[in-house]
């Protein structure tokens, strides 16, 4: 077991533990912090998988911005210490657990099955692309060449989201 | 003396924030490099206290070591804080003297009335301010302690200028 795979297992365990903590968290703040742990660990796993840029963006965008937005809303709504537990009844919990166990097992089985991976159009693996364009450039190249329409559409989506959020949340415009 | 009020025009609009900020920074920098500082290095460098400063008491003594106090009872009567305890006694020559004379310096408000009222100039408030003790009861000064104090006494007023003009 190399050092990197050891790190992978550590952060995979952290990510899983954070996920469980989020679902089981007693207050929204506890859930949120567990989710931050998960997101941070996944960011590290991205870096271990060679996706440096995506890993860091994951931490900046998810852990640093989206989660702070959640936090802000939780505090704004003052869901603080005297919070009512909101788990569904035992039957629901049991059912959901079984269903998710089955789901996890199915997904696991799908992934462990033999499949042949076919490289996409560029014909380069991620490592080769990083070698050629650098950690950031490797992602930028396809984004601004092949997927530039999608890129522009996401910016449009973000604009719509900004306006929508303002319209929804502001009492008086 | 009338207090001069200077009206300064501080418009809220049309002010250059940047220039104002830079001006402020220059001002603070000038003060920072200015060698004139107001700090007094207190234990090394004692502050000059005013001649009318009123601190802890002292009792004047006669040459033979007896207190000058004649136990007339004026000071406990006039004391607004009621901090003086006096038990008068009389010796075989008929001289009154204090058997117990205690001043609670915690209750004392350092008004100086005891000094003013004393007919024999026995009790004085002194020019002393370093009164620190480890226990509270050390602040009840008894007669021996009061007589042992040797700091200068307060000039309640300048005899040549009683109205302090």
């Amino acid at each position: 077991m190399t050092f990197y795979s050891l790190l992978w297992w550590v952060f995979a365990a952290l990510a899983f533990g954070g996920g469980i903590g989020m679902v089981a968290g007693r207050t929204p703040v506890a859930s949120l912090l567990s989710l931050v742990l998960t997101l941070f660990s996944t960011g590290v796993i991205f870096i271990l998988l060679g996706a440096h840029f995506i890993g860091v963006v994951q931490v900046i965008v998810y852990a640093g911005a989206i989660m702070v937005l959640f936090l802000f809303v939780i505090m704004l709504l003052n869901l603080g210490h005297d919070y009512q537990p909101d788990l569904r009844r035992a039957g629901w919990i049991a059912g959901a657990s079984v269903a998710c166990g089955v789901l996890a097992w199915l997904i696991m089985r799908t992934f462990t099955h033999e499949t042949t991976l076919v490289a996409s159009g560029g014909g380069m693996t991620a490592a080769q692309a990083v070698e050629q364009h650098g950690a950031v450039g490797a992602v930028a190249m396809p984004m601004f060449n092949e997927y530039v329409v999608g890129f522009e559409l996401t910016s449009l989506l973000l604009l719509a989201a900004i306006i929508g959020a303002i319209v929804l949340a502001k009492r008086r415009i | 003396m009338a207090i001069g009020v200077r009206k300064v025009r501080r418009p809220e609009s049309g002010t250059s924030y940047l220039r104002a900020a830079l001006k402020g920074m220059a001002l603070t920098f000038r003060h920072m490099v200015d060698p004139r500082k107001v700090t007094q290095q207190y234990p090394d460098e004692k502050p000059n206290i005013a001649p009318r400063w009123r601190g802890t008491h002292r009792m004047e003594v006669h040459a033979d070591g007896r207190p000058k106090c004649v136990a007339c009872g004026l000071c406990p009567t006039i004391c607004p804080a009621n901090c003086i305890r006096l038990v008068p006694g009389e010796d075989d020559q008929g001289n009154r003297y204090p058997i117990v004379y205690e001043i609670d310096e915690f209750r004392c408000i350092f008004c100086g009335m005891c000094q003013e009222v004393c007919p024999v100039e026995a009790i004085h408030v002194g020019q002393d301010y370093e009164a620190a003790e480890f226990t509270r009861d050390r602040f009840v000064y008894d007669l021996d302690r009061l007589m042992a104090q040797d700091h200068p006494v307060t000039a309640l007023w300048d005899p040549s200028d009683p109205l302090s003009e």
């Binding site: 440096h52 900046i60 911005a65 936090l71 802000f72 505090m75 | 609009s13 402020g24 003060h31 004139r36």
Partner: protein, 432 residues
């Protein structure tokens, strides 16, 4: 090109360990000293002397403070969420120290075992790493405020999260012109481009970005013009109202470590890092393990460049103190206005301007060098003048009070015009 040999794996491990230890210890010591410096400089600004009794010039004051904080009773509110209450100071202190890992602090050092990079980790995503970890800094503050179960602490945490999210945007955007000029995001490359590639510190071609970066840094470190999260006058002590002894100390250490890393970043990104100006002898970069391009490395060059880096960093750290004791605190809505209505559009416009200028210059075929930098400097100068002309004097944006004043402005003859009072002389010999 100088090949000084790469480190072997063992030597690399040993060198890295030493570098981590040295960086951590030096940062801690400078942080301690900077708490003293803050108190001394603030005292000088207010015509006082500040703490000068413990040791020569008060140099042992931080040690005394540390000892006091270690020995003090540790209290925690009865209704606090204990686990998070413990966690918050750790979260506040960790990101600030982590940032030091990617900042290069001197020219590479030749040793008998090979060439040692004077940066703990030259990661390929340097500046993004910094953004990532400084964005995690908000959790410590927020958690402290929330877990204390105190309404003032809670308000402090709320303000901290709103403010840091708002200013992070400008912080990140003000760095994009730097990326555009460097063509990369590593910090070592940034230093190299300022030394040789462009031959001019980025503060000149990207002055407006630097200005925005400084403002956003103040907001990120919660230093005074932007210290809403702990505003003493309004919120007791904000998010750390309920903290005492060493836990409180950890917040302080975190704040000053953050201050130092931000100063180091200003030095590295905009003032050439460890570059010594007007001297070609230190212009070098590592292009492969053990291989150096440019001037020849030497131990005394490493030492000199380290001093240059330290001088720049401490200068900016001093500016932090200087500004803190000069400017008053903003009001909360003014902070939000400034962040979203002034800094964000300006940084976006500046990115557009710089991108367009670079595109034009590249199309014209100008070689990337000093002339290129000077043209960009001229463009930047125009942008800065325009920026200050627009934002200053309420020409376009005005505060609410200024608008109100315009409505009820008296006629000119009514205005009482008295000249500003002269600056009062320094008073001497006040009371104890």
């Amino acid at each position: 090109m100088h090949d000084l040999g790469a480190l072997s794996d063992t030597a690399f491990l040993i060198a890295s360990t030493i570098k981590v230890l040295v960086a951590f210890v030096v940062t801690l010591v400078v942080v301690a000293m900077w708490t003293l410096a803050e108190r001394r400089f603030s005292a000088f600004i207010q015509d006082r002397l500040g703490p000068n009794r413990v040791g020569p010039f008060g140099l042992l004051q931080p040690a005394a403070d540390g000892l006091k904080n270690l020995l003090k009773e540790e209290s925690s509110p009865g209704e606090a969420a204990k686990f998070y209450f413990m966690l918050a100071p750790m979260l506040a202190i960790a990101p600030a120290f982590l940032l030091m890992a990617v900042i290069p602090w001197a020219a590479p050092l030749p040793t008998p075992w090979g060439l040692v990079d004077m940066v703990i980790a030259d990661v390929p995503i340097g500046i993004l790493f910094i953004l990532a970890f400084s964005s995690l800094g908000v959790y410590g503050l927020f958690l402290a405020g929330w877990s204390s179960n105190n309404k003032y602490a809670f308000l402090g945490g709320l303000r901290a999260s709103a403010q840091m999210v708002s200013y992070e945007v400008s912080l990140g955007l003000s760095l994009i012109p730097v990326f555009m000029l460097v063509g990369n995001v590593t910090l070592t490359e940034t230093v190299w481009v300022q030394q040789e590639g462009l031959g001019i510190w980025f503060a000149f071609p990207l002055g407006l970005a630097f200005f925005l970066f400084v403002i956003a840094s103040f907001a990120e470190t919660n230093r005074l013009p932007f210290d809403m999260p702990e505003a003493e006058a309004e919120l007791v002590a904000g998010y750390h109202s309920e903290y005492s002894s060493m836990k409180f100390s950890m917040f302080m250490i975190g704040e000053y470590a953050h201050l130092l890393t931000q100063s180091a970043l200003m030095a590295t990104l905009f003032f050439g890092g460890w570059d010594i100006p007007f001297w070609q002898g230190d212009d070098m970069r590592v292009i492969a393990p053990g291989v150096v391009e440019g001037a020849e490395p030497a131990w005394w060059k490493s030492l000199l460049t380290f001093f240059a880096f330290a001088a720049k960093t401490l200068f900016f750290a001093f500016v932090f103190i200087w500004v803190r004791w000069t400017l008053p605190r903003f009001r909360y809505d003014q902070i939000m206005d400034l962040g979203w209505k002034a800094l964000l559009p300006t940084s976006l416009a500046f990115i557009m301007l710089m991108a367009a200028s670079i595109l034009v210059l590249d199309t014209l075929g100008l070689p990337f060098g000093l002339g290129y930098g000077l043209i960009l400097t001229a463009v930047n100068l125009v942008a800065m003048v325009l920026f200050f002309w627009v934002l200053d004097n309420d020409r376009i944006l005005a505060g609410a009070s200024a608008r109100r004043e315009v409505e009820r402005r008296p006629s000119e003859d009514e205005a009482v015009v008295v000249e500003e009072p002269e600056e009062p002389a320094v008073p001497t010999g006040a009371g104890v």
